[in-house]
C-alpha cells in the first residue's frame, strides 16, 4: 500500500539527521596557546567568517563545546590541563590539531614541548602550516564535517565505536590527500 507523502516531508535516517545537525553546529573550544591562536581568531572574525560553516560559537567552557581546536605549542606542563578540558567535553566530540607545533612539536624539539598532542589525546584532523592560513582551518572544518557525516553516531557512544575500530595510526603513516585548498592530513575513515 503506497502512502502519499505531502511535498514538505523528507524521509531520512535518524543517524543522518543527527550527523547533519551536529556537523552544521560545531561549537569550538579554542585552546589557543601560541601564535596559531591569532590565526584561529582571524578565522572566527568577519573576513573569513566561520559562521558560514556553523562553527562560529566559540565557547570558553568545555561543557558547552564539541570541537576542540588546539592551536599552538603544548608544553608538558600544559598537557594535563589539555587532557582535563578534553575529558570535560561531552560526547560526541572532535579534535583538530592546528599547526606544526601542535601536530608534531614543530621547531620546538626541546625537553618541555610535547612532540604532537596526538600522543596523548585523540585527534581527528591535522592542519600543517606555521601558522596555517584561515582557509586551511576552514578546509579542516569542512573535512571534519564530512567525517562526521560518515560516522554513525546514534548507534552507540564514541567509546563503543572506537572499540570496533582499528587502533589509531601514527601521524607519519597518515596518507596525504589532495583537497581543494592544498594538501591536508586526514585520518582514514573509521569504518569497522
Amino acid at each position: 500500500m503506497a502512502v502519499e507523502l505531502p511535498d514538505n516531508v523528507v524521509m531520512t535516517r535518524l543517524d543522518t539527521l543527527a550527523s547533519w545537525c551536529r556537523k552544521n553546529s560545531l561549537w569550538p573550544m579554542p585552546f589557543a596557546t601560541a601564535c596559531c591562536g591569532i590565526e584561529l581568531m582571524a578565522t572566527g572574525a568577519s573576513r573569513h567568517d566561520l559562521a558560514r560553516f556553523g562553527a562560529e560559537v566559540f565557547r570558553f567552557t568545555p561543557r558547552q563545546c564539541d570541537l576542540m581546536i588546539v592551536a599552538g605549542r603544548v608544553v608538558m606542563k600544559m598537557m594535563p590541563v589539555l587532557q582535563r578540558i578534553w575529558q570535560q567535553m561531552h560526547e560526541p566530540k572532535w579534535c583538530i590539531s592546528m599547526g606544526a607545533c601542535c601536530s608534531s612539536g614543530g621547531v620546538f624539539d626541546t625537553y618541555a614541548v610535547v612532540q604532537g598532542i596526538d600522543r596523548f589525546i585523540p585527534v581527528d584532523m591535522y592542519i600543517p602550516g606555521c601558522p596555517p592560513r584561515p582557509e586551511q582551518l576552514i578546509q579542516a572544518i569542512i573535512d571534519l564535517q564530512d567525517l562526521i557525516t560518515d560516522r554513525e553516531t546514534t548507534v552507540g557512544t564514541e567509546a563503543e565505536i572506537t572499540r570496533r575500530e582499528p587502533p589509531k595510526r601514527a601521524l607519519s603513516e597518515l596518507p596525504i590527500l589532495p583537497s581543494s585548498s592544498g594538501a591536508q592530513f586526514r585520518a582514514p575513515p573509521r569504518s569497522s
Partner: protein
C-alpha cells in the same frame, strides 16, 4: 652621591672584591660566594641600590677560558642616582650554595627560584625554594649545559587518553 668608581673603590678597600671590570660604561664586581650577602647589604644601605633588577646564572661548561662552572649575575639599580652595578658570584660543584638575598630585596624571591629551577643552585635561607617554572615532578635542571636539549624523556612520560576513556 658616590660615583660608580668611588663605590668600587670603597668595596675594594674592604677586601671583598675579587675582580672588577668595565664594559661600555657598565661595571661588574666579582665577589666570593660567602661575601655576597654583606656586600649586597652594604650596596643597598650605604650606596642606595634600592632595586634588584635581575638574578640570573650562566653555565660556563666548556666555555673557552672559563675557570668556574656557574656564574651568578645580580643586576642592581639605584632609583635615586640612576646608577647600575652588576655583582658576579662564581660557584663550582659540589658547593652550589649561596646566601639568599630575599631579606634585602623581595624581588629576589621568584628570580632565585627560577635560578634554582633551571640551574639547581640552592639559596640558603630562601623562604620558599620550590620550582617555579617546571612541573614539581621534574628532577633535572635543564639550563645546565650538560642537560640534553631534547630532555631525558620527560615530555613523553604523560598519561595517554584514548577515545574509549574520554
Amino acid at each position: 652621591m658616590a660615583t660608580i668608581a668611588e663605590i668600587v673603590e670603597a668595596l675594594e678597600e674592604s677586601g671583598d672584591v675579587v675582580a672588577t671590570s668595565t664594559f661600555r660604561g657598565d661595571t661588574r664586581v666579582v665577589v666570593l660566594p660567602e661575601r655576597l650577602a654583606p656586600v649586597a647589604r652594604r650596596l643597598q644601605v650605604e650606596f642606595g641600590f634600592d632595586m634588584l633588577i635581575d638574578v640570573t646564572c650562566v653555565d660556563y661548561l666548556q666555555y673557552p677560558g672559563a675557570r668556574d662552572r656557574f656564574g651568578l649575575v645580580y643586576s642592581l639599580f639605584s632609583t635615586e642616582s640612576n646608577q647600575r652595578l652588576w655583582l658576579r658570584v662564581f660557584l663550582n660543584e659540589p658547593d652550589l650554595e649561596v646566601d639568599s638575598l630575599v631579606p634585602l630585596w623581595e624581588s629576589a624571591n621568584w628570580m632565585e627560584r627560577e635560578v634554582y629551577d633551571l640551574f639547581g643552585i640552592r639559596f640558603r635561607r630562601h623562604p620558599d625554594l620550590r620550582r617555579i617554572l617546571l612541573p614539581e615532578a621534574f628532577t633535572s635542571h635543564p639550563l645546565r649545559k650538560d642537560y640534553p636539549l631534547q630532555g631525558r624523556g620527560e615530555r613523553h612520560h604523560l598519561p595517554v587518553i584514548e577515545r574509549g576513556e574520554s
